[in-house]
Symmetry: C2
C-alpha cells in the first residue's frame, strides 16, 4: 500500500509516523513545496521518498492533504483529477465547509473523505512531527454519505488503527463548534501576546514578572500565521460571531471591575470555573 | 527561629515547604481561618502546629501574610500591632500599592517588607502546595527603603536561600506591569471559559473537539474567584486599562477578519509570534 502525504508538517508528518509504527511495510511518499522540508522528512524517516504531486498521486492508494486550508482548496480539484480509480483522498484541514463545497463540484467526489483530527501544537514543519500527536485523540469526519463506502472504510480503519476516536458531523456543525473551542482560543492568545508586546515596551519586565500561568495562556500565540490566517478567513462568519461574543463578555466583565461590582465579578469567575470539569474530561482523553 | 504562615495555601504552604528543606530546625506555626486546612497543613508537614493569630504573631521572628489580598489589607495593621520588636512581617500578595499604603500608616512600618513571588498555579489550598513552586522563580520587593534594614536582610536571605531571584520596584510600577503580564491573562482565560460554556451548550462537543491548545489557553479559568476578585479590585485602574487595550486590539483583529484583510491578519499574528522569544526566556528560568 502506498500513502502520499502532501504537506509533511506537524500534522501530516505525525500521521505518517503513527501509521509507520503500525504498518512497517507501507510505502510513504512525501510531496512538499519546500525542498528542505522534503529532505528533512526523508532523513527523519517520515516518508521513504519525495516526489512531485503529479507522479505521486496516481500511484497512491491514499493521498493525505495536510497543507494549510487555502492550499487544500486549491489542490483538491487537481488531486481528485489525478487520483486512481481505486485511490482515496483525505484532508486534515481545520475548516470543513469550504473544502467540502469544492469537493462537491468534482466528478470524483466519492473518492474524497473530509477529516479533521483534533490535535496540534504551536509548532510547525516536519521537525515538529511526533508519533504521539494523534493516538488517543478525536477525529471528526464530515459528509461521509457523499464518499464512496470503500474510501470511508479505509480512512476510518487507518484512524482507528492508530488509536483515534471517530465522530461524525456536518461541515457546518464542525465549523461552528470549532470557532468556539479552537479558533477563538487561538485569537485570544494572539491578541494577548500582541497586547503585552505593544504595551509592555520594557521586555525585561515581561521576563522578570511573567509566570508559568502567562506562558500557558499565551502559548498559542506562537502558532504559524501562514496556517491560521486562511483558517480564520474560511471560517470568518463563525469566528466573527465567537469573537463578538467573547468581546461582549469581556466588556461585561470590565464593567464589573470599573463599577467595583465584586459580587458579579466572583459570579462570572465561578461560572468560568465550571471549565474545570470539562478540562478533567479532556485531560483524561 | 519561628516562622508563622498566615494562610497555609498554595503560596504560603509552598514557601514553608521550601524553607523546611533548607532549615529542618526552624519552627513553623500555621494560622488559618479554616480548621480543616490547618489540620491538613500539619498532616502534610507544612507547619508544626496551628495557633490563633494573637498567640502566633508575638512569638514569631517572621510572620508571612499569604491570604487573599483583601485579607492582607485587613490583617496587616493587626499583625503589625502584635509583632515583637525584633519580628518581621512579609506579605506575598499579588498587588502592592494598596497594601503598602496601609503599611505606611502604621507606626511599625519599618518591620514590614512588601513582596510578591512570581509563581502560582490554578490550584489552591494546602493540598496544592509543593516544594518546587518557588525555587528558580523571581520575587519582587517593593518600597524596601521604608523597611528596617534587618527586616529586609532577613526576607532577602530567606528568598535567596530557597533559590529565588530578587528584583526591586515601586508598588505602582509593580501593579502596572502585573496588570499586563498576569492579571490580564487571568481575565482572558476566565472570559474564554465563560464564552465557551455560555455558547457551546452541548458539552459533549467541547469534550470531543477541544484539543490541548484549548486546555492550555483556558487553564487559568480554573483559578480561585475568592483569591482573584480582590486582586482585580485593588488593581482595578491598571487592569481596566490593560483590558481596554486588549479589547481594542481584539476589535481591530475582528475587523481584519470581517473585512477579509488577510495581510493585516498575518501581520498581527507575526507581531504576536515575537512572544516566542520571550517565552523561551521564561521557560529557561
Amino acid at each position: 500500500m502506498t500513502i502520499t502525504i502532501i504537506g509533511i508538517g506537524l500534522l501530516g508528518g505525525s500521521y505518517a509516523l503513527s501509521l509507520r509504527d503500525k504498518y512497517p511495510k507501507m510505502h510513504f511518499v512525501g510531496v512538499d513545496a519546500s525542498e528542505i522540508h522534503g529532505r528533512l522528512a526523508v532523513a527523519k524517516g517520515i516518508v521513504d521518498e519525495v516526489l512531485p504531486l503529479e507522479i505521486a498521486v496516481p500511484k497512491s492508494d491514499l493521498v493525505v492533504l495536510a497543507v494549510p486550508v487555502n492550499y487544500i482548496v486549491e489542490l483538491l480539484p487537481q488531486v481528485l483529477d489525478l487520483v486512481s480509480e481505486k485511490g482515496t483522498v483525505v484532508d486534515l484541514g481545520s475548516t470543513k465547509r469550504m473544502i467540502c463545497e469544492v469537493a462537491d463540484k468534482h466528478v470524483n467526489r466519492g473518492r474524497f473523505v473530509a477529516a479533521h483530527p483534533m490535535a496540534g501544537t504551536e509548532n510547525s514543519g516536519p521537525s515538529a512531527a511526533f508519533r504521539e500527536l494523534l493516538p488517543e485523540k478525536n477525529v471528526i469526519l464530515c459528509d461521509c454519505e457523499k464518499s464512496n463506502p470503500d474510501s470511508v472504510a479505509l480512512v476510518e480503519a487507518l484512524f482507528r488503527d492508530i488509536g483515534m476516536k471517530i465522530h461524525y458531523m456536518t461541515p457546518s456543525e464542525h465549523d461552528l463548534h470549532l470557532a468556539y473551542v479552537s479558533h477563538l482560543s487561538h485569537v485570544t492568545a494572539f491578541a494577548l501576546g500582541y497586547t503585552v508586546l505593544e504595551k509592555e515596551k520594557d521586555e525585561q519586565n515581561i521576563f522578570d514578572m511573567a509566570s508559568t500561568g502567562f506562558s500557558s495562556t499565551v502559548r498559542l500565540a506562537k502558532s504559524s500565521p501562514a496556517m491560521w490566517a486562511p483558517i480564520f478567513d474560511q471560517n470568518r462568519e463563525n469566528l466573527s460571531r465567537a469573537l463578538g461574543d467573547y468581546i461582549e463578555f469581556l466588556n461585561q466583565y470590565k464593567n464589573f471591575i470599573d463599577e467595583r461590582d465584586v459580587q458579579s465579578s466572583i459570579g462570572f469567575m465561578q461560572r468560568a470555573n465550571d471549565i474545570r470539569r470539562i478540562l478533567a474530561g479532556i485531560e483524561k482523553k
